[in-house]
Symmetry: D2
């Protein structure tokens, strides 16, 4: 479109990683500028600085669990960013080598997450190889197929991940804005900080969801870096910020928690059917109750 | 005031009963028309018909418990009435006799509630007397001092109630209207009907109050007259319909109960200090949470 | 049986009342001595004194609710008695008159509970009659058919109760003993006293039942006679004292309540099917958990 | 002791790591055989095989969070091991180089956890260095002081960790046995698997602790590797397996969870004062309740 600057996305590089693959699945990114960044902190920084409109970073992996650095930056005290989309990407590793490699590789480059997901295979097949964190000097690499192709490498072994069904969940981050409109099948993400001198605080947090029939799909505790034993909790629930019951639960959390940070409401992509609210807790039930209260208050 | 019809109050008669005493304590009743009615159903009926503006009836007694007929009429399917005031009246009985009574009384008139509250004394002192329900033909009566004086009776024995500190709670009923304005030390009364095929329903009801830090001061189960084992619950909580946390709890009850009937919000008269909301659950905390949610929803 | 003294039952008299009818339904009472007592306190007293083996008294009525004097004596500080059976009796009133009554009765004898249950009919048909508490001098009586026949009275009007389906629940009381053996369809009755300076205490009580999947069939609050706003709670739950889950819940109540009084475990008589424990909360599940814990503690 | 084979401990090697430091703090290990193993799976394997009596492995770090491989092996389907001790070790990194290093290091060896904890310092000071996973060929290493000294390396920079107060929690694992005796200040560790088709299951789990006044000191969700959105929970609570309230809570969890694995009860080492049970929930209260129930059941 003439005169309209194109959208600029960054992703956790280098090119050819799963993050680039995941970004390509987003329609909005297909005609946009897509650039790699060196690490997750840089991804947050360029969006905060306005040098990019959005960043795609990994949030969790079905094998390794949460990506600590992403969680810490989402929960940290710098300018908050918001999750506007998620991408679930099956991740499958291959071992790729330089074209001129004639012997078994002595060094294998491997992102720590790749290492974690191919631990068994590596121990069984290349226990003697040195594992290095950067690929530039390595003779072989554990990586995604696209990366192997992109770098014109030779496939030495395919499907070397310890679990064939590994999935990584990426999230697209922007500066705070009005959330994606409600689709009827949405996830809302939060991080709550609990004052641990209040007994049963987590029980109270879960009760705020339970009394309103809201389903929690993910609960991830995370040390707050103050000391062992002090946690914040990353929570995903079904529903959208604009839902009456989600809004009411958020207000409840705001009151009982030290801090609640709304991380975003966005469409679910796990292909599970929408979770219907339980009987008596639909949007219509909330609207009916609000109208009834209004009538009582005005003496009707 | 010329042209303005005076307010008309009825009370559970006959004149001289504790209900008349209780009504006299209300400033609004001091210059109004005050008339007795024969029983509680009549009190409800004349207010419903518009023949009186308000009715004062007993709700519960510290010795005998709830007044069943009042509860049933409050919970019944006829046009609902609303509680707009409460009066707590110490009740102390005397035995009064006709001026010409020269011997021990053979018949003692006694409202069933009076009988209940003087049971021990009667058994010890007048086990042989016939207890009758209407005073017109009786030779002596268990009644309040004012009634004795009003009928120019002779005091035969004073303080004959089994408990010296008995208190009856009366409520003033009107047709539904805007509740008495919030005073900061109010009671809200409800009756809730629970569908008993939902396990744990009462637990859910109490949780709606507990998560919002609302104090329940009275819980009275009552058979719904369908069959033994089916109950509705009369609940009194501290706070006013206009309080954010009371309003939110009511909306919650509306959603989970078969029926919720708001019986009224009115000033407390028990001379206990106001119950402050717990930390983090004040009106200001509710307002802050609502403002925060609004800001999130508009992308602020 | 020679040498064995017969069992002696007392019931709330006089003869011909519903209590006698109810007692006759108990097989154990058919060949036993059955004697009326004047009132509920006397029924408690004679059992406590050992002058009777058991007493049948009314506990609640589907129309009038709980029988306050029975509840107070069950919860009182005198020697506790135990509920060993319940009887549910449909109660239907007739108006019976003296054989020589030729005109409309001027006085109608009526137990206060009878009065409560025939209120509408009396108001419509005999508003002018004097209602008296003892039948000896009355010209007519509201009573059960057996009472009318027993006293050779003439039926003036039948089925005069305001509700045709009224039921009274009687309980058989004995001195404390090993409860009736478990039948698989039992009720356990308790009274708990709650320290009201502990917020949410009733919620805690209900939670003790809920976490173990125990169904509460009756919850009856009752002022403790200290002052308005202080209650004890009469609770009936499904299950037997010997059930693991009932026992564990009772121990939980014992810890959190000011006082818990076990009133009895006895067979249900309401003809409802037995309530099965929810999935994972059967006796076998409790036994499995106990065996597992024992194994852990011994390092197995 | 002649004839008694010495205890054999293994720890996560190589020698000089924080795990060796941590093991040296255990009195029982001071005169025992201490041998490094290559990785956490090997540590589990040698104990399971009986080739070592115990293994010391890292469980969590105050900066990086849980050590995924340890959690997965604790929760996995192979023969379970038991936690018998914990060691909290402050971890501080230095950068150490070969004695002959004359220039800035081109390769820096760094365990992934060391990398995670020195991320900021590395980016600021050695962004150009290649980070490798094995130290044998590296010119410099991020490691503990003892490791630097052990390998006779030169200190290039001290206190390079991003957080000066980082602490790692190690646990000592043995084959299942009777737990360490109760000290009065103990931790009990569990892993529970929740059937996610049961709504509110985590709320039920937390309630089992809350109703018994048991304090949870750690809650760590972990994907079960089946798929994203399915979790098990690692729970630490205060108290010992032999405590009545802990035992009862465990039985409750056993009933409501798909699986509960007891990981161990062992002395706390965080120097916090013992957590006293709340009022009414002491061992004496549990014993009193059990005695009371026993008395009821035998008709006492």
């Amino acid at each position: 479109v003439p005169g309209v600057p194109p959208t600029r996305f960054v992703y956790l590089g280098p090119p050819g990683t799963f993050a680039e693959q995941a970004l390509r699945t987003l329609p909005a990114a297909s005609n946009a500028i897509r650039e790699p960044v060196a690490d997750v902190p840089e991804a947050f920084a360029v969006v905060r600085a306005g040098d990019a409109d959005a960043a795609l970073v990994p949030l969790e992996n079905s094998v390794e669990g949460a990506v600590g650095v992403t969680l810490d930056l989402l929960a940290g005290s710098d300018e908050p960013l918001m999750i506007t989309r998620e991408v679930l990407l099956p991740v499958q590793f291959g071992l790729y080598g330089r074209r001129d490699l004639t012997d078994r590789p002595v060094t294998i480059a491997s992102h720590p997450y790749g290492l974690g997901q191919c631990r068994v295979w590596l121990a069984a097949n290349h226990a003697d190889a040195m594992q290095v964190a950067t690929s530039s000097t390595a003779e072989a690499a554990l990586c995604a197929a696209v990366a192997g192709e992109q770098h014109r490498l030779t496939l030495l072994a395919k499907d070397v991940g310890d679990r064939a069904d590994a999935v990584t969940r990426f999230v697209l981050l922007t500066r705070p804005a009005t959330p994606h409109p409600r689709t009827g099948n949405d996830t809302t993400s939060l991080v709550v900080f609990i004052s641990h001198d209040r007994t049963g605080a987590l029980l109270e947090v879960l009760t705020e969801f339970a009394v309103r029939g809201i389903n929690l799909t993910r609960i991830e505790s995370r040390p707050t870096k103050e000391r062992i034993g002090r946690y914040c909790f990353f929570l995903d629930c079904t529903g959208h910020l604009s839902d009456a019951r989600v809004g009411e639960a958020l207000m409840g959390l705001r009151r009982i928690c030290q801090e609640v940070r709304f991380l975003g409401s966005y469409p679910r992509t796990d292909h599970d059917p929408p979770v219907e609210p339980p009987e008596r807790l639909s949007e219509a039930d909330f609207a009916d109750a609000a109208a009834w209260l209004q009538q009582l208050r005005t003496g009707g």
